[in-house]
């Protein structure tokens, strides 16, 4: 008798628990629903839609028919495509040459300072609060050719003739990368600075006891401790620079003679100047495929290194 009563009670409890669980889950999903809807609309759906769109022909925003890889072939054949790809790689490489080491060096330097540390920290972060569009317009004026450009005025003090800067096809990309570095390096340096402050001082003491000089300490203690962070920031930087758009768009509009046009700029041109959305989507898909495979390769490589 007692046994049966307990049995019934147990069943009731499980039933109650199940409905409680259901309520709990439902409640959770209800809280998540609005934001998930936004993620779907702004992030996930456009990503998939991009792929679909690239296989169709369209009239304005209306899809007409499935055309297979025609958009991709047209994009590949366009005379601007190759320069754009070449330039985008060029941006990426220059940004690694100029922009990758600067924040690390900055962080190490500032971490060593005893005086005015917070002034330096605020100072180098300052360019990051200047809006990107204002930054590129501003540097456009600094690189102004002729005697009244700021850079030419400063160089004139040393007796150097005025230069044309951005209109020189060999200098365009490095100068645009310099502008980007000016804006972003300080903020990145602060991230490295945090990592530097996390290094255990005992490591340095141990190195000193082993007779390591200043340079040895940098090589054997500081750099190994920054390596993981640097690897992460490297891939993030490549992904960001690969999508470079408004810097060349505003500073040079891709010129002179396509010397600075980027792949994202092709997307912009196709979509918002020629209103050929499927081809714009095709270029986007090419960029995404490249970047996603790059990230995958990087992750695999990273795991091997970690073991």
């Amino acid at each position: 008798m007692l046994d049966r009563m307990l049995e019934v009670n147990k069943k009731r409890i499980t039933k109650y628990k199940m409905s409680e669980n259901l309520k709990h889950n439902m409640g959770g999903w209800l809280v998540m629903a609005p934001t998930l809807l936004l993620f779907a609309f702004f992030v996930w759906e456009p990503l998939l839609e991009s792929v679909r769109l690239s296989f169709y022909s369209a009239k304005g925003m209306k899809l007409i028919e499935f055309v297979g890889f025609k958009n991709y072939i047209d994009v590949f054949r366009h005379p601007d495509f190759l320069p754009a790809v070449r330039n985008t790689f060029s941006y990426t490489i220059w940004s690694l040459v100029i922009g990758f080491l600067v924040p690390i060096v900055l962080a190490i330097l500032i971490n060593e300072m005893v005086h005015a540390k917070s002034l330096f920290r605020v100072g180098i972060y300052f360019p990051n609060v200047v809006p990107g569009l204002a930054t590129v317009l501003m540097w456009g004026f600094i690189f102004k050719p002729g005697k009244t450009g700021v850079l030419n005025i400063i160089l004139g003090q040393f007796g150097i003739e005025p230069m044309v800067w951005l209109s020189n096809p060999k200098l365009t990309i490095p100068l645009i990368v310099l502008t980007m570095t000016w804006k972003a390096a300080g903020a990145t340096a602060l991230i490295y600075l945090a990592a530097l402050q996390g290094i255990n001082p005992e490591l340095y003491e141990a190195a000193i006891i082993d007779g390591a000089g200043i340079w040895d300490r940098i090589r054997h203690v500081t750099i190994p401790n920054l390596r993981n962070l640097a690897r992460t920031l490297l891939i993030l930087q490549v992904i960001a620079v690969f999508q470079i758009l408004y810097e060349p768009l505003v500073m040079t509009n891709g010129g002179p003679n396509n010397a600075s046009i980027s792949i994202m700029q092709l997307v912009f041109k196709y979509a918002f100047e020629k209103f050929d959305y499927p081809k714009a989507a095709a270029v986007s898909v090419i960029i995404s495929i490249f970047l996603i495979s790059l990230t995958a390769v990087y992750n695999k490589f990273n795991k091997e290194l970690d073991i």
Binding site: N25, M26, G27, G28, W29, V31, M32, T35, L36, L38, F39, F42, V43, W44, P46, E49, S50, L53, M61, L109, E112, M113, V114, A116, F120, R121, V122, G123, Y125, F126, P127, V129, P131, G132, L133, L137, W139, F141, I142, T148, V150, W182, A187, L193, A194, L196, P201, I214, I218, I239, Q243, L245, V250, A271, Y277, A280, S284, I287, S288, I292
Partner: protein, 290 residues
């Protein structure tokens, strides 16, 4: 004055600094730091100085300092370009964006971190995944969707787009994970429902991270121009950045553009000066995890 002997951390140690060679090296590096700080601050300072020049002075005289500091030029440009309107539009855009950034990302993080319904791990993986996916590539279909829904020429797409920001969700979730579970349990026993727990318990306890998200959102909403340009161009609701972008194909005089740049950078600079400590600290704390 020198506190070199108090140096406690870093690569160069106190005992190194007793050697004159190392001392000279330290001061050389100090000078380098000063120079870098100067390079960081000089261009905006220059643009502000140049904005006092008139068109003749700007195109002809090769000098950095303007001849006179005359504020009436600013007033004229401000009125000519009707900047008042763009400021108001930007203000709307920023205010809505900040609210959306806090409420929507906060709610999702709250569910992922505290309620944890079945399947929330998968959702979090999807959110993290969208951090890795190149963002700008989906701009074309997004633009088409916005137009199909008839939301073009309104602020809604700008407000709501920042409500789906994976980075802010991660920031909030990591903060919520550190909140003591007992408080939330106690609130639940007292009969609070999810929304009450969120608005009365969790959010008031999370003011520091909300500050960080709000500052990021202000900066992001003020500086963003691609989506605002696509959504708001020629609608009469252009923000300051959209107006700046329009200079690309206009025939505005250089000095007017320069004054417009000054108008565009003054609000974020004021904000930065007011909150510099929080901003530089938060970026060192949160940056790594992003």
């Amino acid at each position: 004055m020198s506190r070199l002997q108090d140096k406690e951390n870093g690569i160069i140690t106190r005992s190194d600094l007793r050697r004159p060679g190392v001392r000279i090296l330290y001061y050389a590096l100090f000078t380098v730091c000063l120079l870098i700080t100067l390079i960081s601050i000089a261009p905006p300072v220059w643009i502000m100085l140049s904005s006092f020049k008139d068109i003749k002075e700007f195109t002809l005289s090769p000098s950095i300092l303007p001849k006179e500091f005359d504020f009436s030029k600013f007033v004229r440009t401000w009125n000519d370009l009707k900047f008042y309107k763009f400021y108001i539009n930007s203000l709307y855009s920023v205010a809505g964006s900040v609210i959306c950034a806090i409420v929507f990302n906060g709610l999702l993080a709250f569910a992922l971190s505290i309620i944890k319904p079945k399947g929330s791990k998968l959702v979090y993986a999807l959110v993290l995944g969208s951090l890795m996916v190149p963002a700008t590539t989906s701009i074309v279909p997004l633009f088409i969707n916005i137009n199909k829904l008839g939301l073009s020429g309104t602020f809604y797409p700008l407000w709501f787009s920042i409500g789906a920001n994976a980075f802010y969700v991660v920031l909030y979730k990591q903060y919520f994970d550190t909140l003591p579970k007992s408080i939330i349990e106690a609130a639940r026993i007292d009969g609070c429902n999810n929304l009450q727990i969120f608005s009365r318990i969790v959010m008031p306890l999370s003011k520091p991270i909300t500050m960080v998200v709000a500052m990021y959102a202000v900066n992001c909403a003020w500086s963003d121009f691609l989506l605002p340009y696509l959504v708001l161009n020629n609608s009469g609701l252009e923000t300051v950045m959209v107006r700046l972008f329009q200079f690309r194909n206009g025939k505005t005089a250089d000095v007017d553009i320069i004054r417009a740049i000054v108008f565009a950078i003054i609000p974020p600079i004021l904000l930065f000066t007011a909150f510099q400590k929080q901003i530089t600290q938060s970026s060192t704390h949160s940056g790594i995890k992003g």
